[in-house]
Every structure is written in C-alpha cells, then in structure tokens.
Subunit: 410 residues, 4 copies
C-alpha cells in the first residue's frame, strides 16, 4: 500500500472549513491519527482534544497521555467515572440489561463521552466535533445522535469513515506521519468497568478464543478447584455491599470482576445484530455483570409481583435496545427509566453465593421486602380453605364452557 | 390424628351422584386414595382408571401397576409419549420455553393427561372425571379447564381439594384403608422426559438441596474432571441428531439428560409465581432442556433477523405463560404457535459443544440458513463504502435536530 | 315469589359474627337492603354507613339522603370529587383510557370508594366492611382487592352475592321489610362525571336504545343542525381551559358533557369482556370523554416522537386493563403511571374543534412543544440534500441483500 | 429557473452504465420525466416501462396510456388488482390496519409494484431498475428494499432523488423536453381502492381542506339528510356480501367507497411519523376502509376471547408498522400473518349499519361463531351460583393479603 495514494484519496475529499475543533481523544489509533488529519487536511486553527475517564483503567489512560505527548497535544481530562457508575451502569442493573445477551456497555460509554465532548465544545466555542469511529460499526450512529442533540449546528467530522480508511491504511498513514500506534487486538479492545468488548466483529465464526485475550477471566477448565463464597447486599435494585462491607458501585464491580473472573465467570460469546441489522460474533468479558445481573433477576423474582416481572421484561428489552441503538437521550428513555426506578423501590435483599468454575450458585437469600409468603398457603386462621379453590377453578373455567359450546376450531 | 375424625369430615361433605367415573390414575398417593374414596364416599358404580404414559419412565409405571394390583383395579394404559415429545416438547423448544426460568413441563403434561382422560371418558360413556390435585397448587386449575373443554357437562371430582385433605391426613386414611403409599419427596416428584419437578413448593427458602435428590445430575463440584464434547444438529428449530446419529426427539432428550447430568448441568433453583400469584421456591432438574434451549437460542441468533428475535421474545413469553396457566387449549395458543412455527423454517444448523462441570461452551456453529454474512461489511464489489454511512448517520439523526430545537425536557 | 322462602334461605346461610360494620352506602337498592340485612341477619351492633361523593350528581345524593332517612341512618358523607378528577380521571386522559373501547369509569370509582370506606372503617374501629355488589359482575372483585389491601383482616360482607339474591328477590324483600326502592334502569345506571354506565349487561344484543335513556346525548339524527365550535387548551396532557376560560378538570368535563351531548357526541355501544372473561354488550354515555380523548390522542401525535407513541400504546393498554380488573392499587400501576406522567411533560397545545351531529372535526391545532417541523424537509441551509437519502436507503436495505442471498423462504 | 442550469447539474452527476432498464411507469410526472432522463442522461440502450394496475382506476390508466404515447413508449400492463385485494387489502382488514390511524395503502401498493417490476425485469434480462420517488418521502425506502430482495444485483435508479430535483425543476425540465405533465394536487394524489392519499405532506398544518379535493366524500355538513342502511356479511375476517349480494372484495370496497362517501364517512386528518421519523400532516379519503375496519373490530369483540383481542393489538400494530416502513417482504411479516390468519377462523357474522352524516351506527349484529353467551350468567342449571364468586374473589385477592403485609410502597 502506497502512502501517497492514500494521501491523494484524502486530498480529493472535500471537507468543510473548520476553526476550533473538539476531539473525543482516547489515545487509540483512530483518535491519534485524527489529530494529524486535523492539522494536515482539515487545516483546523485550534484543536481541543478531550479525554473522558469512564473507568477504562489507569493503563489505558497512561498510554493515552504518552501518545498525546508524542502528538504534542494536551488533552483536557474530564472525570465521568462516578456519573457512568451511578447514572448508567446502575440503570443497566435495574433494567437487567441485555441486548440479545449483551449487557450494553460500550453502547453507553460512547454516548456519555459524546455528551461530555459536545457540552465542553459548546462551552469553549468550538465550531466542529471530531470522533474516531469507523464507518461500518455502531459507534458513529451513537455519537452522531448525541452530538446533534447537545451541540446542534456544529460540524461533525468522522475522518476514518469519511475518507473511507481501512485499518491497514490507517497504520500506513500513521507510520508515515509519525503518529504513535499501540498494539491492540484485531477488532479493538474496549474496556469499561461494566464489560470489556474484545475484537468486536473481528473474531471469525468458529475461531477458538485464546486464553491470553482475557483480562480477568480464567476459563472454567483452568480456574481454581476450590469454590469461593461471597455475600452481596442489594438496596432498591443496586448492590451496595460485598461481604458485609459497604462499597460504592464502581468499587464493588471492580472487586467482582476479579473474584468472578478467577472463578471462571464472565465469558459472553454471542451473535449480535448491529445497528445496521448486520450480524457479528461478539466476545465480551464481564464477570461482575454476570454475577450482579443473575442475582438482580433472582431478587426481582423474590420481591416483585408476577405482573411486574412479566411486564417489566418488555420495558427492559426496550431500554437495552435504546442504549444499544444510540438512543440514550431520546425522550422515551426517561419514561422507561421512570417506570424502572419505581419498580425497584422494594428490590432489596442479601445473597450468599458460591462461585465455582463458571457456576454461580445461590446458597442463601434474605429480604425484608419480599413477597415470598409460604405461610399463606397453610395458615387456616387466615381462612384459606382448599375447598374455596373449587369455586375459584370453576369460575376461572367459565370461558371454556363457552368455547366448548362453540366447538373448538383449530 | 384420628382417622374417624377425618372420615366424619368427609362424610359431612355433600357430593354429587355419580355413575361411571374416569380417573386420571398415576399410581401416586392422591390417585390411589381417590380410588378408595370413589368406592366408600362417592359410591361410584363403575371406576375407569386411566394411566397416561407421558414418559415418566418405567420405574414409575411399574410402581403404578403394583399399586393398581393392590387396589384391585386394571387401569387402561394410553401411550402419549410420542404426542408429548412431538407436539408439546417440540413447541417448548421452538418457543424457548421459559416461565420465569422454568421450561414448563408438568404444566404441559397435566393438560395432555386431562385431555386424554376426558376424551376416553366421553368415549366410554362416563358421567364424571376424577383427578388427584391438591387445592393449593396449579394443577387443579389446569385440569379443570381441559376437562371443561373436552368433556363439557361431566362432573369433576377433585377429592383432596374438595374434602380439604392435608398430606398427613391422606397418609392416615391410606394406612387405615389399606391403600398403598409410596415414599416420595416431601412436595412430590414429577418426572417427565423434559424436566423433573422436585418437592414443589416444599423446600424451604434457604434449605440446601441434598445430593440424593437428583436423578441425573451430579452437581458441578462433584462432576467428572474431563470435559465432554457432543455434536447436536437442528432442523427447523428442533434437534434431530446427536453426534451424527439421527434420533427422534424423545430419545435425544433421554440421552442428553444423562450426558448433561453427569457434567453438572441441569439444576434450576428459582422463585415461581403460581397461578394464584403466590410465590414458591422451585427446584427442577433438566439437563437436556438446559442444553437444548441454550443452543436453540443461539441458533435463532444465527438464523433469524433482529426484528424476529426481538419480537418473538414477547410471543415466547406469552406461550410459556399460557402453558403454565392451564391455557394450552385456549384459541390464542394456536395463533402463537402459527407464528412460532413460521419463524422456525430457517432455524437449522449444527453445533459442537463442550460440557464441563455445569458449563455449556459452544465450540463450533454451522448453518446453511444463517444470516451471518461478515463479508458484506468488507467486500467493496458490493458497493458498501464507509462514506455512505455518513449520510445514513445524518438521516438517522434528523429527529435529534428537531428535539434539539424544542429543548430537551427531562 | 314468597318472601318467607327467601328469608329462610338467608337464615340458612352461616355468617361470621360482626360488631361494628362500615357500609359503602350509595342509596341504591343493594346498599339500602343491606342495612336491613345487617340488622336482621348479621345482628350488627353498630352500623356505619358511608357515602362517597365521586360526582354522581346532586340528584343521586338527594335520593340517597331521602332513603337514608327512611332507613333511619345518617351516613357519613366524604367528598372525593376533587380526588377522583385530579388523580383518576386525569390519569385516564393521559393514558388515553380504553379497555376495549370503554374509557374505564365505574371501574375507577368503585376502587376509590372502597379505599375511602376501608380507611374510614379502620379509623373508626370497625371489624367488618359491607358492599352491595351482585355476584356476577365485576365490582365485587374490584372492591374485594381494595378492602384486602387497605383494611387487611376486616371481614368482607357482600350480601347480595353471599345470599345469592336475584334482583326480584331483593325487591320482594325490600317491600316486605319497608326498604325504599328507587326506579332504575334494568341493569342499573352508574353516573360519574367521566362516563355513565347504562343498563350494564342488561340490554339485549340487538335491542334498540330508546332516546329516553340518555342524560346528555341527543342522538345524531335529532341533534341540532348548526355546528358548534369550541376551543380547548391542554397543558402537560390535561385540558385546562375551554373557550379561553381556565377551568378545573371537573368543571371542564361537566361543560363538555353538555356541549358534546347536544351535538350528538358520546354514545359507546360495545362488547366488553368482563373480569370473568364473559362478554356483555355495554352502553355508555360519555360526551366529554369522547372529545377529550380524541384531542389528547391527536396532541400526542403532534408532540411525542414516533417511538413514544407506539411504545406508549402498550403501556396505555395495560393501565386500562389494570383499572378495569380491580388492580388500581397493585404496585405495577404506579410504575405505569411514572412512565405515563414522564411522557406528558411536552403534551401541551390548543385546539379549535367543530362539533356537528356526532362528528368532532379539528379546525386548528397549535403547540409550542410540538415536534412537527415541516421546514426540516425543505431548508437546504440545514444540509438536507435528497441525495443523502440514496445512501440512507442503501444502508437501510443491506439486510435484504443478505436475505436475498439466503433465498426467501415463505 | 433556468433549464440549462438544471441540465448542467444533472450532467455533473456520475451515473452507472446501464443497458436495459425496467421502469415502474405510472404516467405521473416523475415516471414520465424519468423516461426522458433514461434517454438523455443514462443513455439506456433499452427501456422497459411497466405499469402495474393496482386499482388506481380507469381514469389514471387512460392518462397513463396517453402520456406513454406522447413519450413514444408502450408500457407493459400487468394486472395486480386481484392480488392487491386478496393478499394485501384482505390482510389489512384482518389486521385492523392502523399505523397511527392510517390504514396503510400506498405503503402496500409501492411494495407490490416494486416486486412485480423486479420480477419482470429479471425475466426480461434487465440490468437496472428505475422508479420515480422523491428523496424526502417514504416510497424510495420501500421500493429499495423490495428491489434488493427480488432483483439482487440490479442497479437501482431513482433520478428525482439522485439528481436532487425539486417539483418545479421537474416541471421546467418537462416543459423544455416535451414531457407531458398532468395537473395534480400539490403533494400528489395516490389512488388505490383501499385509501386515497391526498397532497401528502403538502397541506399546511391548519389549512382548511377544500371540498373539491374529494373523490368520494361529501363532508358531513353537506351530506344528505336521510340515513342509509346497509347490510354487510363477514366470513373468516373478511367482508363477503353487501345487502345480501355476494361480491368479491374489490367490488365490495368500490361500492362502499361510494355509499360511505355520500354519507359523510371517510375523512382521515392526522399526524404521521414518516420512515425518517419526521412528522407530516396527512389527509386520506377512505370511506370503505373506515366502515369495514370499524365493523371488523366490533366483530372481533363478538367472536374472539379477551386474551386474543388484547394480544392481537400488539401483533396488528407491528403488522401495520412493517407495511408502512417498507418491510412487507421481511420474514417477520409472514409470522405475523400466520398468527393473524389463525385468529380469523372464527370471525364471521352479519351486520346491519346505519350511515348518517359521518356516523356509522350498528343496528344489528349476528354471528354463529360468537362467544357472547349472556345465558351463562343466569342459568342455574349450569351451576353458576353467585356464592361461588365469593371464593373466587377471595382467591383472587390473596396477593393483596401479602402486599398488605409488606406495607404498600408508593
């Protein structure tokens, strides 16, 4: 691949005039190269790189700083960790987050990042926003919606997409232009406290997953032989203590990622239907999410009525759908969350669970707000005589008398 | 507890005159005692015990025969195994059967049994039907609906419920009257090929489950140390071959119960909201169901569109709800199944899975009807240029321009 | 029909001992007769009749007072008009209330009445509650749930049902015992400000409805020849002004019942599936409800996003279902309402409508919070070039490329 | 506007080489101009104009022929009237078709036309397809999907969109090039037997609709003073006879458009959320659809169970959504229709209705497959004693005992 050819192709694309450009800067290949493109192609007068800390970890942030230095930029660092934990991950838990099995994580962070960057850009008087998504994934759609809503009128630059660059072309350019390139997994490696996305869409259908890929996970067959027991307490839908110690949500998740991971828990290997309705095989690593979501669902079974459980399933499905599809700031989301938050007021309790080579087994459950009342079936003092059910069965069966009269039509 | 007192209470209850009574006879305590009640209390002129083979296993059937002999009755034996596998379990698979996590099994057999008994009773000119449910569970409702629909006008006798007998009263009576009593698990033990119900509602909330309870399952910690690999082929939504050998559904499930069980797979320990909206803790043992349902869901992710997958979730939820609530012969069920069957026409493929101490890991997936097309993202020949997505993102974001104009209202 | 025979039947029924009994007293036949039954049969030591004003109108209340005098009781009168309008009818509007076409009215008042009576009973130290429902309708179920929740442990007396009395038996008894009996429509006549229920279930399938039955309605063919125009303003989902004059909801509904009725608007003639799944033909008269609900739905089309409109349809259906089925105080209701209230924050606007012989035609619509933005399709300055849609169409059609490759399977 | 300027703009757009092009030719401005563009700009070697008769009426077809002559082309005429009536409109009726109030008509015809043209094009060896949609509406998306599925690989030309032409530019070009131009309503006028779309999106928000616009409708205030009575018979969900005479669906609809229209029935004036989520005000004229859909819904209330009615509402909503959004050949559609068709097997009956100045009043309903059984409430022989409901109410209220114990949390 010839660098001149790529450069020519880029030159040929007409781009809007820009003045001061806010960049969602992560330190990855895409955003690093974008800085250089802003200088060479877009001729930006001023570049405002912004890095959002959403819990990607100190390793990522340190690399981001090194690359920034190499690029001679000084990104603003905005801390959104607490906001991510308390306003996004917390809702994912309450909503039993699952989009086809994926607990929606990158889906959320991209939108949080986009909002922070958009708001900062407005505050600093920028006239354009730049982000590093490729054109074939989901993130460009997510960030575009959020940019449009929070910084209406600002130009949106998505160079990888808009110059139609492939990964190898990006690498060729970076080398030629002196842009630092990290080694990453083939399809990328997106870390958040809640769930790590690995090699998104780039692992072949039946390719085995190598052990080195994992950050927390020891696969079940290699996990230790002794089971481990943990106690987790929930209040109003959220985990609030681990083994008796109160912890904020971010800490608690960090701990469970380690504990769950070493016990073989956390692999998600699934088909995912992207925003453009194209399927990819996705690999996620999410020990804490797997444990918390499993217990949260059980606790809802303990504390909510049948009707709440069944109806909420549809609400939860829609919530995860919206997050995944980049609709986190759509008005409907707030209505779904109003529903969900109301249901969680009685979802409180304590669990003791055994973790063993990929298994999460509930040993003990307790709740002061539960609706589990085995005594109501037995205490005659309360007047529940089996014979009453005869009439109940009869009345319940009345419509079948009518159906029998009509003759069943299959 | 004094037997005379119980007898007096029974005497005091007024019962309808009956002539020839068809009995759903399983050989369990309830149905055995009912035979004697038909003689002593209802004064039935003729008793027609009917046993339905729905795959409860030779052990159960043999015991049933022994007890029948002791009671001096000769039950008709109707074989509904194939019908159960091919018309009920098959739909449970296609519908990803899950009522709050329970793959609905007894829920189905009770209704199949009720229909068979009702139809036979009509054929033989009976004027009443008897079944052995207690008054506080779900089965009485299920059987009542089916009796009403398939044998309208026949009297329905449910002695345990209608004389308000407790389990211990039943035992006292049985001993006094010479009715054979099997030793069973506290809350009963309902075996079907698809899922075994254990101690329904009678296991306390935090009671540990003893290993002896299991029929197939070796709990993960005691399961063997070597993983086992199996190949399963699906055609139009149903498993049709195991390790390359074609097998009918009933056989295949029987084999997977053994294979799955010895690898620690099959425990379900859950809260369940009964027909009367009362919660119980339920324990099920279902190795084959767990494996098949997990693969079936994955295969749907492989072969169905996003829209089908998401919309079908609501159809599946309703199907399981209806089965559980005794509405198997309600007209709506046929419409749900028409929907489900249509979706399954392209759900075909082959899986290789590793079973290991409670884990089911997919090693290989293949399908000729899949919609997984990774090449469509990359092949430029097909004209998919990343730049096209710029406009797609723009058009998709138009509503956010309008929302931005209105001012977001949270 | 012999009064002695009925009395004997009543005597034969065993009833629980009661001391101080709170009675939901409306002044109708059922509740008046109940007072006498409390004296003669239940031997209540103290009777506490309670009348709840939910806007049934001065005529009904005056009759209630006259009959109370005749029975020598002095009912407590509790005013719940504002609560009914502001906490119940308002939600019915926001939820586009429709249970199979019925705007749920009596369904709501019965539960409001039951709560008020239960709370007062507890306050006054009663040990039992009495209400006058018959056994074959919906109201007994509604009131039972509410009594159980708000006055747990108190005995619930429903004499008409529990002595299995027919309407004519009630009349025979009333005459014999000197209980005053009003002339009413065959199936009763339940007035509320929101919707009047007429002859519930007692009008035959194809019976023509006589003009005299109507309170507000002049049927279209007899309505006046000139159209009438009204202006209605909505704020956050609720009508707040009529023809420019602010009015509280109760007033505004009262006015629209008159105006709508004289223009032929307000008849509902429908099949309704009762709580026991039995169908009845129901006739309702609801001029204001018809106008307000039609405009509210249009205003939602004006101010909500597509996704909100379509998703809310399922929420609204469930809300009306719960109200109808006596589940107004079920926890799920509060979650549904949290959702609904959140959506209504931008549902504000002004309407001018023409009313003419049964037709409601919208002449003018205005809203400051609307999402109607015809300019976005045309103004090029905003960058919306038709050619962009080519790519949007292409990207949107990608899944069809894959489907075409698989071969369509019908 | 200068014709040369427009021509220059067109020249500047690069278009793919095409050989033999199938054109969806309606005779309207867009498709007529397209013929000339194929000659001048695309340099097509062969043009295959295809006109699909979907019941737009003889007037439209005659004009289409005249314009074809003027353009010197001889379109193939394919008759799809019966297919449209029997496979599309019939489903719209069974599905109570309503997308936000619109009975989906053009939405369907565009997809039927696209399929016919695509199949013919394949048969005749074409390498490209052309259709006349503008870029800002819904039709381009609908036709694109269908073209992609039924003629994969063929080039898709949409000149109005792809040259970004406005209506007035099209007129200028047409005049200059000698292309015949019909006078039409501002936003177009799409006639189908089922529903006529008028001036789509081009009528301002509060613009009054002039009487001349109507084809069938006499507005209520001008409609005749005598009511008219008609009898309509339904079999398995579809109207099959009018006033006792059997008629096929197309005939029956044609007759009802006239009869309904002269009685003031048929106006739909609504907000509609387009495929791109942009709102427009839409005016439709659909007398037959209004009458048939109203009766069909009532008949479902007569013949279906509560559960079928409520659950089907969600199925119907999705069906209309898919039709509207151009997903008529998506696999999910066939599953929805399998559901719907199954429900309709018992939806049969006869109606007598009075039509009067915009009102449709049901005078008489009869059905042999109804579930309306008023006798079941009253006949004691069947054993329905009011007292049974006491226990039913008690059992139904059990969950409220538990909720009362927990303390309600709002």
């Amino acid at each position: 691949m010839d660098v001149r050819e790529i450069e020519k192709r880029i030159e040929a694309v007409s781009t809007p005039p820009v003045n001061k450009v806010a960049v969602a800067y992560s330190g990855g290949l895409d955003s690093s190269l974008s800085i250089e493109l802003l200088r060479r192609k877009y001729k930006a007068k001023e570049i405002v790189p912004i890095t959002i800390d959403i819990g990607q970890g100190e390793g990522e942030l340190a690399q981001s700083r090194r690359y920034a230095q190499a690029l001679n930029i000084e990104p603003l660092l905005l801390d959104a960790k607490a906001e991510f934990a308390n306003e996004w991950v917390s809702m994912a838990i309450k909503a039993n987050a699952s989009y086809e099995g994926y607990p929606v994580s990158t889906s959320m962070t991209r939108q949080l990042v986009a909002r922070k960057v958009a708001e900062k850009a407005l505050e600093l008087g920028c006239d354009a926003l730049l982000e590093g998504s490729s054109g074939k994934g989901n993130d460009q759609y997510r960030m575009h919606n959020v940019f449009t809503l929070f910084a209406p009128g600002l130009k949106v630059l998505v160079p990888v997409r808009d110059f139609d660059l492939t990964r190898s072309e990006e690498e060729v350019l970076s080398e030629a232009w002196g842009v630092p390139v990290a080694e990453t997994l083939p399809g990328g490696d997106d870390k958040t406290m809640w769930c790590r996305s690995i090699a998104s869409g780039a692992i072949d259908l039946n390719q085995e997953i190598p052990d080195e890929i994992w950050m927390w996970l020891v696969p079940p067959e290699k996990a230790k032989d002794e089971a481990e027991t943990v106690k987790i307490e929930f209040a109003e839908g959220l985990p609030v203590a681990l083994d008796g110690d109160r912890a904020d949500l971010a800490e608690l998740i960090a701990l469970l990622n380690v504990i769950g991971g070493r016990n073989g828990i956390g692999l998600i290997d699934m088909f995912e239907d992207g925003i453009m309705d194209l399927k990819s095989r996705e690999i996620y690593e999410a020990p804490a999410a797997k444990i918390i979501l499993l217990l949260h669902r059980d606790l809802e079974g303990f504390c909510l009525t049948k009707d709440e459980i069944l109806f909420k399933a549809g609400i939860d499905q829609k919530w995860a759908y919206m997050m995944y599809h980049g609709e986190a700031f759509h008005p409907l989301r707030y209505s779904l969350e109003a529903f969900i938050n109301q249901t969680q007021k009685t979802v409180s309790g304590r669990y003791e669970v055994k973790l063993y080579k990929g298994n999460v087994e509930i040993m003990n459950r307790e709740s002061e707000t539960s609706l589990f009342s085995p005594e109501i079936r037995s205490i005659k003092a309360k007047g529940f005589d089996q014979r009453w059910c005869r009439n109940a069965a009869y009345v319940r069966g009345l419509p079948y008398q009518i159906l029998a009269g009509r003759g069943r039509k299959k």
